[in-house]
């Protein structure tokens, strides 16, 4: 399916794949995020941005059930998460690639791919490995012996192999050379568009993230302080920066850019 900007509104207007409604979550009863409402539709790329401690990772963990909501709810494919356990959510098609990449150093690339696909799926495997041809050569190698970039490719590849409906990637650029990130992020975006995967990215690299995303959501102090179309946010860099550094106008109210 070729992508074109004109199609995006129709895609986004479909039933959202993943939705948080007024979500509050945190640790030991203390909320790290409050009132988080966002949604991801098929083929939509949402960049979740914010300074350290803004609650980005907590939001992601809450989406996959690793952190239980204190208030509000998470809805997957229209159904509330409820008491479903994290591994059941993963089976339902919401996959998180955590910031430690979620790979196993003692296992080979082949074993990772084996784990990722519930049933052997040669077609999908070819499709995914065509995107990351390096992995073909490394099949017998243990993940612990691979470079950071190779490990990150493996992490993404194994997630894609499971045919996710929503793919959530936490700080892919962590520990990677900027060049690799610049190559990988667009590749992942293209895949998401092709397969209609809803993609949520947490990134420190604001510009890069916004350049491939459809929408940007900026968190600070556990609240959404700014949301808008990625293109608009890119144009209004000063607003983004103000949101990042906690300018007064964003302290209490949620800023929204038209568009």
């Amino acid at each position: 399916m070729p992508e074109s900007p004109a199609q995006e509104p129709t895609e986004a207007s479909r039933e959202p794949l993943l939705e948080t409604v007024d979500l509050a979550a945190g640790y030991n009863g203390v909320a790290a995020i409050r009132g988080l409402s966002l949604s991801v539709g098929p083929g939509e790329v949402v960049a979740l941005l914010g300074p350290n401690g803004a609650g980005k990772t907590t939001s992601l963990l809450a989406m996959v059930g690793l952190v239980r909501p204190l208030a509000g709810e998470v809805r997957v494919l229209g159904a509330p998460l409820g008491r479903r356990r994290p591994h059941q959510i993963a089976r339902a098609g919401v996959l998180l690639v955590p910031d430690d990449r979620g790979i196993f150093y003692g296992l080979t690339v082949r074993e990772h791919l084996r784990l990722a696909a519930r049933k052997a799926d040669a077609e999908r495997e070819t499709q995914v490995l065509d995107r990351f041809p390096v992995l073909r050569k490394l099949e017998g190698r243990r993940a612990g012996l691979m470079s950071g970039g190779e490990q990150q490719m493996l992490a993404i590849a194994k997630a894609l192999l499971a045919r996710p409906k929503v793919l959530i990637i936490d700080e892919m650029s962590l520990g990677l050379a900027p060049k690799i990130v610049q190559e990988m992020l667009p590749a992942i975006r293209d895949l998401a568009k092709e397969d209609g995967i809803g993609l949520v990215l947490v990134e420190q690299h604001i510009e890069l993230a916004l350049s491939i995303a459809d929408r940007g959501v900026i968190l600070n102090h556990g609240r959404v302080v700014l949301t808008g179309a990625a293109g608009d946010l890119l144009r209004d860099r000063h607003l983004v920066e103000a949101a990042y550094f906690g300018a007064e106008q964003f302290a209490d109210t949620e800023g929204t850019l038209a568009g």
């Binding site: 591994h87 996959l95 196993f104 296992l107």
Partner: protein
């Protein structure tokens, strides 16, 4: 040469059991991160069911039994035994191990020790303490190789177990669930994020582990008969094998298991030779696994791999004890009152409770404060006790000196056992210490040249002409003796509180919380551990001496590994981090006042090990801080409520009870 080869092959039988238990231990550790000290006891239950069916056609459950009209055939009985093992694995996983999945290592060790005590007690209650003969499953016979007749049973058995271990290896290597188990053992969260339930994988692993262990015990028991103590404790050499395999390689488990079995068998042959020193005839089969593990740990010098898990909870909090005169006097008065209001067996029970309190206090030092899991405290006590017998009867050393001298012997032993603690910690240290305890028990306590079987009498203590003996004429429990015990205990508790509330106590807590952080703030971690082991072994030694005085003579049965574990059980039950916990432990402890009441009033003495085991499982799951800890938390809670009431505001709460707590992050 021929005899040598025969003994090597005979040893393969024992080696096969180690394969069964070791493979199971490895699998469970991979899947749950728990080192299951109950592996032997769990494997034994199914084998007992099998054996009893073959003996008289009775199918025995933990409660109740079914009588078959005819004895079932070997095959049917074996299947029933395996089904029992299957159910046992599931039950233990879901009721016991799953709730403590994210608990501190200490709680996990304690829970598995509790399962071990419980099953062992249950076997004694349901099947009896005596050896049961088990009909052989395997054909008897010999094959003729190199001019020697070699028994076929051991060879077939080893072959079966090697095949089963290979099957487990293949499961971990080639099946999706097996690969996922390995994956989860490395990074549990990542496995969850890929849609695997570590819980289900763990249940599978637990069941497979129990079944392979049960098969090995069924086969092995037809060679030796079944005996509740032996098979429960076979887990110790199997654990040694596990450490040798660095908890990773099934191949190494198999090779090490067979070598160890063969080696033990050959040692059994060698000790019968005339040139073998008499003093070293007993217990070498247990000393060797211990020595092997020690050597390997030192040669390897690497950290053993530990399993990554989702999250780790903290150890129970420690409240720094303070010397408060009023509660101290109240406790002393209570102690004197309890002693003077009782006579005979009841006063003896109270006295024993005070002694057990001391033994529990030694666990408080080493485990509660220093965070090191030692299962050898009973052995330290025993060493001091036997030393007391020599010192008082042969050398005539007078009373307070004899007590201190023997406690110092225990201290030296404790410092020796502390050496491995420099390198390893957690459950692995627990393995080393239980291996050390077993080695000491078999090599020293059961060694007739060191501790003659006709008894090790201990002369009564006298101080300045005052007779402090426990018996005189028909009085089986003299007040003078009990008061002496109370005074000694009070002194030790006082010293403990001084140490715990001072700088040494703080360094202990720092090491417990985080060794690296402690080292980086200038604490000498090794010295601290050495001091901790020394203090705790000294206290255990005093307790051992007092036990010696109270009995008048000692035998190996006085200080079994199980007795030591039972004290750990009650110490944990009471609360491993406080003197209060030690006191609760003393009251509940083996042969203490509660035991005496259970036996005397309710006639339930034989159920004591079972009750203490079950109580321990429940405590460790429901309430990891122990009884005393929970009470303290409730008292703190009530206090903070009371304070908050009149002050009308949350500000009153800060600065009251809260800062005294020293949280630990482990």
């Amino acid at each position: 040469m021929g005899t040598f080869l025969q003994f090597v092959v005979l040893g393969l039988g024992l080696g096969s059991i180690y394969i069964g238990l070791g493979t199971g231990l490895l699998l469970v550790h991979r899947a749950t991160g728990i080192i299951n000290f109950a592996q032997g006891a769990m494997a034994m239950w199914g084998a007992y069911v099998f054996a009893q069916l073959r003996v008289d056609g009775r199918l025995v459950f933990p409660i109740g039994s079914i009588e078959f009209a005819r004895r079932p055939t070997v095959a049917v009985a074996a299947v029933i035994g395996l089904v029992t093992a299957f159910v046992l694995g599931l039950v233990v996983h879901y009721l016991v191990f799953r709730p403590v999945r994210n608990a501190p290592v200490l709680a996990q060790v304690v829970v598995s020790v509790a399962v071990m005590i419980t099953l062992q007690a249950l076997v004694v209650l349901r099947f009896g303490a005596n050896n049961i003969d088990v009909a052989s499953i395997l054909p008897e016979g010999t094959i003729h190789v190199l001019d020697v007749d070699l028994p076929t049973r051991e060879i077939i058995m080893a072959a079966i177990m090697v095949v089963l271990a290979a099957a487990v290896w293949a499961y971990l290597r080639f099946t999706r669930a097996g690969v996922a188990t390995r994956a989860a053992s490395e990074n549990e969260r990542a496995a969850v994020l890929m849609g695997f339930s570590p819980d289900r994988l763990a249940a599978v692993a637990q069941v497979v582990a129990v079944m392979i262990g049960t098969i090995s015990v069924m086969l092995g028991s037809s060679l030796t008969g079944l005996n509740p103590d032996n098979y429960t404790l076979l887990v110790v050499p199997a654990l040694a094998v596990l450490l040798v395999a660095r908890m990773e390689s099934i191949g190494v488990v198999v090779v090490a298991a067979l070598l160890l079995g063969a080696f033990q068998s050959v040692i059994g042959l060698l000790v019968t030779k005339s040139w073998w020193p008499v003093w070293a005839q007993s217990g070498l089969d247990q000393v060797i696994p211990f020595a092997v593990v020690m050597v390997i740990l030192f040669v390897q010098g690497k950290r053993l791999p530990s399993r990554g898990s989702l999250q780790t909870l903290r150890l129970p909090d420690v409240a720094i004890p303070k010397l408060k005169p009023i509660p101290a006097v109240i406790l002393l008065v209570l102690g004197v009152a309890a002693l003077s209001l009782t006579t005979g067996t009841y006063r003896f029970g109270v006295t024993t409770s005070i002694i057990v309190m001391l033994l529990a206090l030694s666990y408080v030092v080493i485990t509660g404060y220093l965070g090191q899991i030692s299962l050898a405290q009973g052995a330290f006590a025993g060493a001091a006790g036997f030393c007391l017998s020599k010192v008082t009867t042969e050398w005539g050393v007078p009373f307070p000196l004899s007590l201190i001298l023997c406690a110092l012997v225990a201290t030296a032993l404790g410092m020796l056992v502390a050496l491995p603690a420099f390198r390893i910690r957690g459950a692995q240290l627990a393995i080393i210490t239980i291996a050390a305890a077993l080695a000491i028990e078999r090599f020293v306590f059961n060694n007739y040249t060191l501790t003659p079987p006709e008894g090790n009498p201990i002369a009564d203590a006298t101080l300045l002409g005052l007779n402090l003996g426990v018996r005189e004429g028909r009085d089986l429990s003299r007040m003078a003796f009990s008061l002496m015990v109370l005074v000694v205990a009070a002194i030790l508790v006082w010293v403990f509180i001084r140490v715990a509330s001072g700088d040494t106590g703080r360094t202990f807590l720092a090491v417990r919380a985080n060794e690296r952080a402690a080292a980086s703030s200038g604490i000498n971690v090794r010295k601290t551990k050495l001091i901790g082991f020394a203090i705790s072994a000294f206290i255990a030694g005093i307790a051992g001496c007092l036990i010696g005085f109270s009995r008048g003579q000692l035998s190996a049965e006085s200080f079994t590994v199980f007795a030591g574990l039972q004290v750990l059980a009650v110490a944990y039950l009471g609360g491993i981090t406080s003197v209060g916990g030690a006191i609760v432990a003393g009251v509940l402890g083996p042969l203490g006042i509660v035991y005496v009441l259970l036996r005397g009033v309710f006639d339930l003495g034989e159920y004591y090990p079972l009750i203490s085991g079950l109580g321990l499982i429940l405590t460790a799951i429901l309430n990891p801080v122990g009884i005393a800890g929970a009470t303290r938390e409730q008292v703190d809670w009530v206090r903070s409520k009371l304070r908050r009431g009149p002050a009308a505001g949350p500000s009153a709460e800060t600065g009251s009870a809260a800062p005294r707590k020293e949280p630990s992050r482990v």
